[in-house]
């Protein structure tokens, strides 16, 4: 009998290089999103809302802010005796130490953590996806199928299918027949969401085998899943319908942010039945000045708005000066748009400053979204 039913391993070590300036100093899961949240909030909140009380957070790339933010896990009610959040960075042993070489290797290096908790099942998650999901339902499905591995999937538009790991499954019972990473000619539009539930003994065996395989890139999608499939293991899909986004690129970050706006957004940050929790910084309510205008916006605590803001997200402690205009933009915490500046279709990093009268960004949607890195100052002529 296992000590615990299910624990989660949250992969949060990736650089998120395609987010460019936004991740030059911090790990992708620690990037601010949706005004007052950080990307990792969504997975941690899902765990808390699904009753999973033990979460190992695997970190590697620029982990300081991420470690500080996650802390004891208290903000997600995950500080429990004999459970809770454990931050798992790479470590040294008597034989030396290595970086995490891939998603599977990161878990392999922490098998002791898993064995210590002795769960019946292990949930593997990415710390950089936006969605609301009750993992209990996926676990029920895993147990019902008597599966060795359950992969959460969702239908994607056919034209985008070649960007994902595509799964072909038996339509009757969901048993996985084929898994192809980014196929050129997909024969299915069920995409893997990078969320896996393993029966622990299968996971341990697969990882120990994989560690010995010199040719493996130690990746779940590329190596572990195809191998288990080839071995005839019981792999099943769990079909998810709803909002799920990987904000891996600047354009998807911008687009997904904009999706939070409007009358009835698909992802409702206000849904209190399955709340998104965060490690809140205590700042006063925001202030709108006498001439401030806000039209279709999300505005966080601590902001001061004296100019006009349209169809944009203002994170904690942003300032929009007098006569300044902000449109179709995302301002990350502490970003400042000074008097008379005009910012359109842009992402301003944390504590970035756009100086007085500067124009930044273009309404032309064929052009790239303008991005200003954290702490960068944009003056005239830049």
């Amino acid at each position: 009998m296992s000590k615990k039913e299910c624990i989660a391993m949250l992969l949060a070590g990736g650089q998120g290089s395609r987010l460019g300036a936004l991740t030059s100093k911090i790990a992708k899961p620690a990037v601010s999103f949706g005004g007052k949240f950080r990307i990792i909030d969504f997975s941690l909140s899902n765990c808390a809302n699904s009753g999973i009380d033990t979460v190992g957070v695997l970190t590697q790339y620029r982990p300081y802010q991420l470690h500080e933010y996650v802390g004891s896990g208290r903000a997600w009610d995950l500080d429990e005796h004999g459970a809770g959040v454990s931050i798992l960075p790479p470590y040294a042993t008597q034989d030396g130490g290595t970086w995490y070489a891939g998603t599977a290797d990161a878990i392999t290096q922490n098998l002791d953590y898993i064995k210590g908790h002795d769960p019946a099942y292990v949930l593997i998650l990415s710390g950089d996806h936006l969605y609301r999901m009750d993992y209990r339902k996926m676990l029920e499905s895993h147990i019902e199928h008597g599966a060795d591995l359950t992969v959460s999937v969702m239908p994607v538009p056919w034209e985008e299918a070649s960007r994902f790991g595509i799964i072909t499954a038996n339509p009757d019972d969901g048993r996985i027949e084929k898994f192809t990473e980014k196929p050129e000619k997909p024969d299915s539009n069920l995409a893997s969401m990078g969320i896996y539930i393993f029966s622990t003994d299968i996971l341990v065996q697969a990882l120990e085998d994989d560690a010995l395989d010199q040719r493996s890139s130690h990746d779940f999608g590329k190596d572990i899943i195809p191998k288990l499939l080839a071995e005839g293991k019981r792999l099943y899909t769990y079909e998810f319908h709803g909002f799920w986004k990987d904000v891996g690129t600047i354009s998807s970050f911008h687009e997904t942010s904009m999706d939070l706006l409007g009358e009835n957004p698909e992802f409702d940050l206000f849904d209190k039945s399955f709340p998104v929790m965060s490690n809140d910084s205590t700042r006063p309510p925001h202030f709108i000045g006498p001439d401030g205008r806000l039209d279709d916006c999300l505005v966080s605590n601590g902001c001061r708005i004296y100019g006009s803001v349209k169809h944009s997200i203002l994170s904690t402690d942003c300032v929009v000066g007098e006569r300044a205009i902000v449109e179709d933009s995302v301002l990350l915490p502490g970003a400042i748009v000074k008097d008379g500046a005009h910012v359109v279709r842009a992402i301003l990093g944390e504590n970035a400053i756009v100086e007085e009268g500067v124009k930044l960004g273009s309404v032309d949607s064929t052009k790239d979204t303008a991005v200003v890195g954290n702490d960068v100052v944009i003056g005239k002529g830049e």
Partner: protein
């Protein structure tokens, strides 16, 4: 930095001398202020920012909302192995009286807290007057002066009939206190530093007068005890009844004034909630207002302060108002010069109107 010199003591068991619908369901200490705060956040944060890590809070009879807000005291660094937050008993009598807010009987009843402490000083504070002050400087000044008590005062920026006036003589020595403080005079901020041995001595020597306030009991002995004063030059916001609560809240709608209370180097901490940012719809019209997280603004908001999760529907209008948590102002409703307490739903096309001098107060709606 943790301050090893002082512990804190907050008298949260006082209310307003005037009856108010706002205080029917809560003590003054947990009265909401500036959308997301409660009055007790200010003395707690001042103590936290001074490094004080042991604070006793004297509870009122109706302590539910206060204890809910305080929790383990974590927000103010008070969930600790050593020291931390202590909930103290307090008398229910006399707590609505005019003026002074440090009843000797309550201090004596909680004497054990002062006996057990190793820190040499105690900072005592009430909750009616909010300000953001570096209390470490006051503790250091108190230590240097060798005084028994150091009372913090400011020059009153208006007539305050429910504040205490300090009569200050040579070398800043306080000679007497009296009730009511006219404009420009020395207004006691209901906050002082007292040496712990002096406090314990007072508990012994004046026990027979325990029905008096501390400062009433010792008033003939100010010289012997050596009562000093310390001037605070920043913004102090005293709230003693509905009228001053409304007026002083509205004055905060000037960011220059507001930023004297909310500084980055001395943050005001409060209980955190998981609430999404505020959302503004197309066609919303908000200006000169403070809006908290979780609000949905579709209509018009002017010169107002909104707590979290307030909905202002399209065509609704809120002006010169304080709207507390989870109220809904329905389509076409108008609210002006009013304080709307928690959980009220203002029906469509209704009008609630006070005047600048006679604010309309709508009491909290109990959950059904």
């Amino acid at each position: 930095m943790v301050n090893r010199k002082a512990i804190g003591y907050i008298t949260a068991n006082y209310t307003s001398k005037d009856k108010s619908a706002l205080l029917e369901s809560r003590p003054l200490a947990s009265c909401p202020f500036m959308g997301r705060y409660r009055l007790i956040d200010f003395p707690l944060s001042n103590m936290m920012n001074a490094g004080i890590r042991t604070v006793g809070v004297v509870l009122p009879g109706n302590y539910r909302s206060l204890v809910d807000h305080l929790g383990s005291g974590r927000e103010w660094e008070l969930d600790r192995k050593k020291g931390g937050l202590f909930l103290l008993q307090g008398s229910a009598y006399g707590t609505a009286k005019h003026g002074l807010r440090f009843l000797l009987r309550d201090i004596i009843a909680n004497k054990m807290m002062f006996q057990r402490a190793s820190e040499p000083y105690v900072v005592m504070s009430a909750t009616n007057i909010v300000f953001n002050m570096n209390l470490s400087d006051v503790i250091d000044a108190h230590e240097r002066s060798g005084a028994g008590i150091t009372m913090i005062y400011t020059h009153a920026d208006r007539d305050v009939d429910d504040a205490t006036r300090l009569n200050i003589g040579d070398c800043g020595r306080v000679q007497a206190v009296d009730h009511g403080c006219p404009y420009g005079d020395n207004e006691f901020l209901d906050c002082f530093v007292i040496s712990r041995d002096v406090l314990l001595d007072i508990c012994e020597s004046y026990a027979s007068a325990d029905y008096l306030d501390l400062f009433e009991a010792i008033q003939d002995d100010f010289g012997r005890i050596d009562v000093c004063s310390y001037e605070f030059k920043g913004l102090a916001v005293g709230m003693f009844n509905e009228e001053t609560y409304y007026k002083r809240s509205m004055e905060m709608l000037n960011p220059d004034i507001m930023h004297q209370l909310f500084t980055h180097d001395r943050p005001v901490m409060t209980k955190a909630h998981d609430v999404a940012p505020a959302k503004y719809a197309t066609g919303s019209n908000a200006c000169n207002s403070f809006i908290s997280a979780g609000c949905h603004i579709q209509g018009t908001v002017r010169n107002s302060i909104l707590s979290r999760d307030v909905v202002v529907e399209s065509g609704a209008s809120v002006s010169n108002a304080i709207i507390m948590q989870s109220c809904v102002i329905k389509r076409g409703a108008r609210v002006d010069n009013a304080i709307i307490d928690k959980n009220n739903v203002i029906p469509a096309n209704t009008e609630l109107r006070g005047t600048p001098d006679d604010t309309l107060v709508v009491p909290k709606v109990p959950l059904s």
